[in-house]
């Protein structure tokens, strides 16, 4: 009996100390972690937008579609719409979700895309989607489906896939197309 009491007390004390220690560190770091995540997203957003003089985060428009909220960061120059940036997600990555930040200009052309971290694609293969060699294939493409076939070349589309990484390429194209569909459907609202 005394033996069992000792076991329980020791284990309880160790767990309690561990728990409080983790709570302390969590308290110290949670704001920093949130800031770091926000900063990474903001940087990705800036890199896909044309030059602007407003605050795209303040002017962002939130649109509910497909059961979730899409945030469109709107870039303006002298109060004129010059571009929008938005994040889209594909669940068809080779291992896990792929988040893509897409930038569209006022002329409805893709300005740039950026693959958001973290993604879990195979290093050296699928992870090549983050490289400029792949991302540049999207630049300048018209978002209208009559102009650009949003699929990888293997499926008869206009985007060349990365060899040996078709699944990852396909997922990025899917994410872009999904986002663009929402953008096109709400174009007037976003460009207002």
């Amino acid at each position: 009996m005394k033996d069992i009491a000792k076991l329980i007390i020791v284990l309880t004390i160790i767990c309690a100390v561990s728990g409080s220690l983790m709570a302390l560190v969590n308290d110290m770091t949670k704001d920093l972690i949130r800031e770091a995540n926000e900063r990474a997203k903001l940087e990705a957003m800036k890199s896909v937008l044309p030059e602007f003089d407003n605050n795209p985060v303040e002017d962002a428009k939130v649109i509910s579609a497909n059961g979730k909220d899409w945030t469109f960061f709107v870039a303006k120059q002298k109060s004129q719409f010059v571009g929008a940036a938005f994040a889209s997600t594909s669940h068809k990555g080779y291992s896990g979700d792929i988040h893509v930040m897409i930038g569209v200009t006022a002329e409805n052309k893709i300005l740039a895309i950026e693959i958001l971290t973290p993604h879990k694609e195979t290093p050296g293969l699928g992870a090549k989607i983050t490289g400029y060699d792949f991302r540049r294939k999207f630049i300048g493409k018209d978002i209208n489906e009559n102009e650009t076939k949003w699929a990888v070349a293997k499926d008869g589309g206009d985007i060349d896939q990365i060899s040996a990484a078709t699944i990852s390429s396909r997922a990025v194209v899917e994410a872009v197309k999904q986002g663009l569909d929402i953008f096109i459907a709400n174009e007037d609202e976003i460009k207002k």
Binding site: D3, K6, L7, V10, L11, I14, C15, S18, L21, M22, V25, N26, M28, T29, K30, L32, I33, A36, N37, A40, T117, P118, K120, T122, P123, G124, L125, A164
Partner: protein, 229 residues
């Protein structure tokens, strides 16, 4: 002198990857590039040293019947703290390693050293053991990462964000993609293990002896299985 001996044994004689063959899960999973190997090695070493210190300090207070849950709680605490600190202060590195950090909890090197060494030895020696094993683990991961990255991707990446990445030009179109996929991990590890044994047998032969693997590193030596005896 003992401090030095305990430290140096982790490098070659009891190298956690090539001799103890412990922690194979992260070893095979993260060694696709040198950068990932180094990051995983440092994170695991930090946890190993911290957990060795605490377990050596508490070794006389923890009843042997609940020692395994106690060790796991202590290790998991350090891993969670490392995870949060890394996420806050080295965000880019955390993005690359994020997946593997929780794996450190179940990395058997850390539990293995807690059980086999820190729970039986004073703090200073446990620190030495932690440092030595940590360096040995990092070294092993790096060698494996180097082989796989050069053969599989034709590049050497030390730290991508800082631009420390070199492409090996003449290898660019001759890479074996297999080497950075999962099977490549097994192939590279197997070849390296064979190579290590070969070197050891050569050394033994030069001394005029037959090579025998160290018996005390055998699985039978571990006390985890002897529960209740």
């Amino acid at each position: 002198m003992t401090f030095y001996n305990e430290m140096i044994k982790g490098l070659w004689k009891e190298n956690p990857i090539f001799r103890l063959v412990l922690g194979m899960c992260p070893t095979l999973a993260v060694t696709t590039s040198v950068e990932n190997s180094l990051g995983m090695g440092f994170a695991a070493s930090f946890v190993l040293i911290c957990s060795n210190i605490v377990i050596a300090l508490l070794r006389n207070l923890i009843p042997s019947k609940v020692r395994i849950p106690c060790f796991i709680v202590i290790i998991a605490t350090f891993v969670t703290i490392v995870d949060m600190l890394m996420n806050a202060f080295a965000h880019e590195l955390h993005n690359n390693l994020g997946l593997f950090i929780p794996l450190i909890v179940v990395n058997c090197i850390i539990l293995g050293r807690a059980e086999a060494f820190a729970s039986k030895n004073p703090v200073m020696l446990s620190i030495a053991d932690g440092i030595g094993m940590g360096i040995g683990f990092t070294l092993g991961l790096t060698v494996l990462g180097l082989c796989r990255e050069i053969l599989g991707a034709g590049s050497i990446t030390l730290f991508q964000q800082a631009g420390l990445k070199w492409e090996i030009g003449w290898l660019a179109d001759k890479t074996m993609i297999l080497m950075i996929l999962a099977p490549g991990g097994f192939i590279a590890l197997g070849c390296l293990l064979g190579f290590m044994n070969h070197i050891q047998s050569l050394i033994a032969r030069a001394k005029g002896k037959a090579f025998t693997p160290p018996q005390h590193l055998d699985c039978r030596h571990c006390t985890i299985c002897k529960w209740g005896e």
